[in-house]
Amino acid sequence: MQPAPFLQIKDIVKDYDGHRAVDHVSIDIAKGEVFALLGSSGCGKTTLLRMLAGFETPTSGTIELAGHDLAGLPPYERPLNMMFQSYALFPHLTVWDNIAFGLRRAKMPADEMGQRVEAMLKLVQLGAYAKRKPHQLSGGQQQRVALARSLAKKPQLLLLDEPLGALDKKLREETQIELAHIIEDVGVTCVMVTHDQEEAMTMASRIAVMSQGRLLQVGAPGEIYETPANRFVADFIGNVNLMDGRLVEDQPGHVVVDCADCRHYIGHGITGTLGMPVTVALRPEKIRIGKSAPEAVDGVPDPAFNRVKGTVRELSYFGSFTVYHLALPSGAVLKVSQSNTERERSGQPTWGDEAWASWSTLAPVVLTS
């Protein structure tokens, strides 16, 4: 028998005067997992997090942590802590006192508290800053104080609200890895909210994509990226070419989809009826581009499939890769990204060139919703 999940969110609904912020969301999270709620602003992810913390009360549904229903417990009695967006550090207290705040409320003996705070300062490498006030710290340091404060009470569950949102891009990348390491070291179960897919992908073991209060897909970062459940998820996570078409052949091992500019031979089966409208999602980095017609492509039985000819309309050089915008006969644009594995390569198409794009049978995904 499967052990009961550590955190069980069961059929949660939250209404704000007529507007449904969270719509029948159920998630099971295992002990030790780092779980990310990903979505654009207003998708209900923050409301869901605030219900876990106890700042909001669900309209219906239950939340159970380690088998105990959290309903009716005020925030100050819940065995979890939250790291707030832009940190909410107490400006009148030193770093030391900020970290000790929760321990004082728990009436921890002074010597034990001292040890605990010192251990936390060491964990986030801020020992030298214990006497400073928050305004005397950089953004990255404030973020670490906030983390130390939320871990000091050894919470069963750690909630992170946009943990890196207040940092600039460069610092964010460094801090992301550091934060992931600390959370892993401590081994705390973690639910984070973010609108940044990169942040979710690097830090979380599983991601839930939310939109308009609903849960669209839950899965590991690779699953969400490679096999999105629907158009929204495919479009929201990373770059994608979406092509509308019709299902013309449906076999256990493959399907064929007819689109305006090309025919797709796709190496996975779906459940559907012939002739139904479907969408083919194709990631730009899974497409090859060349000036001449490609020879046989992996797994494609016939040159009629998985290739298209177009004109290079845009070309953006990003250093490590180049993105081509290929204008197709129907007027649609196909984005192709090519990694620049060598310093100079001849035979690459440039502005105005006619070029061929091709992809393997494993590259596209058929979406039915």
């Binding site: 700042f55 707030f84 400006p91 705040f101 929760g102 409320r105 006030k133 305004h135 939320s150």
Partner: protein, 309 residues
Amino acid sequence: MTAPTVRGRLRRGRAAVIAVPYLWLLVFFLLPFLVVMKISVSEMDGVAFQDVIRLQDGTVAFNLKFANYLLLLQDDLYFSTYLSSLKYAAVTTFACLFIGYPFAYFMARARPTLQPALLMLVMLPFWTSFLLRVYAWKGLLTENGWAAKAIHAIGLDQVLATLALIPAPGQLMNTPFSLVLGMTYTYLPFMILPLYSNLSKMDLRLLEAAGDLGANAWVAFWTVTVPLSRAGIIAGSMLVFIPCVGEYVIPELLGGPQTQMIGRTLWDEFFSNNDWPMACAVAVTMVLLIIVPLAVFSRYQAESTERRR
């Protein structure tokens, strides 16, 4: 080329804007105060003051009379008057803080659409004359006044009599009680407004953070809200305390023989005793008494500005 000129013009403009109020204070506060200081150490020569500094036979002669200040220290009456001024001002400040803090707190937490109306209500008393409002209390507190009846009805006059704030139940006017009541009533808005402006700016997520870390609402109030509103508490207290120390009108109208305050003494020295040097010494001492807490306050303000930066 143009940058320094623009900056120079900007600096001159800024200096001019700052200079106007400073010039005003210089002419209408500092110079008169220096005159008052001079009079306080002058010898009377009939009805005229003698010069403090005189040039005589090529020597500069100072003629400073500190007898008035010595008298201030020696005479129990002055000392006890100062003390009672400070005491009533302090009691009034505490009363204003005690009433004003919850008021400002709930005003700052009220619905944003409601706040302007609440703010208006606090300032509404300013629309009628201060003198009228204080005078009205005389009517309310006399034996048959509404306030007096209400206080009697709930038995508060018994309590006040036991605390020796009024001589006997039923006699509310011209007592320490009526004085503090009048001053608290008059100065309450000066406590509420800075507190409100401070509390309404507070980041409410800090209270959530406190809650998350195990503080219930009461603990969060004392460990987060109150320390963060310290600047507001100090500003409000100063705005109440300082004018209360030198208050003349309210003690005159509502106070009694027990409540001798320094404003009253000043009046007596100037207009009853006609002893201007003595009166000036009393005034200078009062200003110095007030300047000390003010200096502490402005230092704290500077510190907290520094912190915010």
